[in-house]
């Protein structure tokens, strides 16, 4: 199997058929159209979205249900079409689509998850995109803290 140069794990073997295609790239990274999801057992529930073309580009993400089990999608008609999903309804998280929140880490702050613009991947055709919501229901900088810490704060 070919090797993929990764940001955090050196060279790993991968099957190019496992890559996900992001036809539009990601906002600010429009030229990055192919990513591989690295699921590293010791780092769960984190997943690593490694660019197939740029070894230095690797996003950290969490399954959205880890952050908010009640999360409700609001994917636009255009984005549903691009994903080749039924445009008349929202897909079911976990079974029909894989939904991830990108994590941003800034020194001295809790990691932040972008719940306003989740990554949505259709596992059937391996097409993904960042589905930016146009409502203001969820934050783009939702603090990610452990549940026990949240309880301490309550």
């Amino acid at each position: 199997m070919p090797l993929l140069a990764t940001k955090y794990f050196g060279a790993v073997s991968f099957d190019p058929a496992d890559a996900y295609r992001f036809p539009q790239g990601l906002p600010a990274f429009e030229l990055e159209k192919s990513f591989v999801l690295l699921d590293v057992a010791s780092k769960r529930p984190l997943v690593f979205l490694q660019s197939a073309g740029s070894p230095d580009l690797c996003f950290l993400a969490l399954p959205i249900s880890v952050i908010d089990p009640e999360y409700e999608l609001s994917i636009s008609f255009e984005d549903l079409s691009l994903l080749e999903l039924d445009t008349n309804r929202q897909p079911i998280i976990g079974t029909e689509v894989l939904v991830l929140a990108l994590i941003a880490i800034q020194e001295g702050r809790a990691p932040q998850a972008n719940l306003m613009a989740p990554l949505v991947i259709n596992p059937q055709n391996r097409i993904g995109l960042q589905a930016i919501r146009s409502d203001s229901r969820y934050s783009f900088e939702h603090p990610v803290t452990s549940r026990s810490k949240q309880e301490e704060l309550c």
């Binding site: 600010a28 780092k43 529930p45 990691p111 972008n114 919501r133 452990s146 549940r147």
Partner: protein, 74 residues
Amino acid sequence: MLVLRRRAGESLLIGSDVEIQFLEVSSQAVKIGIQAPKTVTILRKELFLTKLQNQAAAQGVNLTKLMDSIEEFN
């Protein structure tokens, strides 16, 4: 923040070379037209915020420290 009330068909000016026209108003959405010089960047705010947050998310992290802070999700 300046708050103005405008009707469909009306417009307003920002500075001397940006014009915002209110084309259609419904209970759910407003359709606007913007005339501005090519040098003025116009972005949906949520796209702008996502770009910034993606750039922050692309920064390298210390994985050990990160895992310490979120390990209790496991």
